[in-house]
């Protein structure tokens, strides 16, 4: 791999994880975001399944991109994504059954996530399979860390625990009771409005940070300007 390609892949990773973060910048995939970020374990489980589907569908669509006519690309993309999700669902059920019992309900949910189709259309249809696979994975990982943060915050505020349900994924691990046995919980954090409020705070924090970075860069005239491409 030459340095140019490596730089391109690094750029894809940075865009997925931070600059074009699906949850904080593109604001895509709100449905699963609100539905399953009620606890850390749920949020991370869905995100991991999403990473897998996005990487796989990106790679397959990129490999087949020369065969897909432009006029019917959307139905073909949907067909490919739905088929891959179905195969993944079956494969998990058959060969990773313990994990399937935890992740299983989330895998079919992924087709409801428009971010998969969005990345296939915007990136995989125009790039090499390697770049498209990495783009899908990076976008998924960007979703993962935001969802993990959101899930932790909602779980902690809503029920005073962290990692509840972890024993289903790591036998022997225990959830943490961080706010004491008699913490009554704050129901709104678990309900959908809590997801909106906390996501809003996360976006505000990111925007404040970006504004701060821009100010520092403006003060130092030699630093390269970095304009996020929408």
């Amino acid at each position: 791999m030459n340095p140019e390609e490596r730089a391109a892949l690094g750029d894809i990773g940075r865009k997925g994880l931070w600059e074009n973060n699906t949850a904080l910048v593109q604001l895509l995939g709100m449905c699963p975001l609100l539905a399953v970020s009620t606890s850390f374990v749920n949020a991370v489980s869905l995100s991991l399944a999403t990473v897998l589907v996005m990487a796989l569908s990106g790679g397959v669509v990129a490999a087949l991109r020369t065969l897909i006519p432009h006029e019917i690309r959307i139905p073909v993309f949907i067909l490919i994504i739905a088929a891959l999700v179905t195969c993944l669902d079956l494969a998990f059920n058959a060969w990773l059954h313990e994990l399937y019992l935890v992740l299983g309900i989330f895998i079919p949910l992924i087709v409801t996530n428009c971010i998969v189709l969005a990345r296939v259309e915007a990136f995989a249809a125009k790039n090499s399979p390697l770049a498209a696979t990495w783009d899908g994975a990076a976008m998924g990982l960007g979703l993962l860390w935001v969802l993990a943060l959101l899930g932790s915050a909602r779980e902690l505020i809503g029920s005073g625990t962290l990692f509840s349900g972890i024993q289903m994924i790591l036998p022997g691990a225990h959830p943490l009771q961080l706010l004491g046995e008699d913490y009554r919980g704050l129901l709104i954090a678990i309900l959908p409005p809590g997801a909106f409020i906390l996501l809003g705070l996360l976006i505000a924090t990111r925007n404040a940070w970006m504004a701060h970075v821009a100010k520092v860069r403006a003060a130092a005239p030699h630093a390269p300007t970095d304009v996020a491409s929408a």
Binding site: I68, P69, H70, I72, A83, T86, C87, L90, L101, A125
Partner: protein, 257 residues
Amino acid sequence: MSDATPDTQPGDVPAQALPPAPGAAGTAMRSAVLLGLFTVAFTALMAVTYEAAREPIRLSVEARRLELIGQVLPPADYDNALLEDTVQLPALGALGIDGPVTLHRARRAGEPVALVFEAQAPDGYSGAIRLLIALRASGEVAGVRVIAHRETPGLGDYIDPAKDRANPPWITQFAGRDTSPATRWKVRKDGGDFAYMSGATISARAVVHAVGRAAAAIAPARDALFGLPAGAAADEAFKTSPAAPDAHGDASRSTPQ
């Protein structure tokens, strides 16, 4: 908007040059054929995956089912293939489940040991509570487990032993209960024999009533049920009078109620 360039979008650089379109009809035909081919190819992919995954999935589901049954009936108590030795129960009001219910028959050296079946309590605090019940051939309850519920977390969910902080868990009090009329299938608050947790009586009451109803319906028919051939429909066992031994059944084993 120009009709002359239908295939290009601003800022959208095509990854490859498309072959020149031979006119609208030709394009439509080519698209239809390609879409058909893609559909066939990906349906084939799904079919192959399904075929390959079917057997492992069946084994996993069976193993999980046996593990679940093991919670209400110790695996050491029986030696037959529990998942194959079944009869189909008709839709009985007493079980609270719409549609037929599969009943598993546990035997040891050919002798009846227990019947395992599902029932449902329709009146939980927030919806139905699904139960798995094992009933010994002697007529006493071997065990009960809640397999699905939506009771309030931290309040009514003690009916599920995984969430119950009591030791032994609340649900274990069903083990060894006799289905004869001597057992009062109510919580103590209502003048029955079963403990409950104050503040969350509704969940306990629903489970106790459901187990009582289901046991009372199945217990009188148990000899007939054990006598049926595997895979048979058990409608007959519930049409005959409960005390009378069924024509298929082993009459010497039936005990008067």
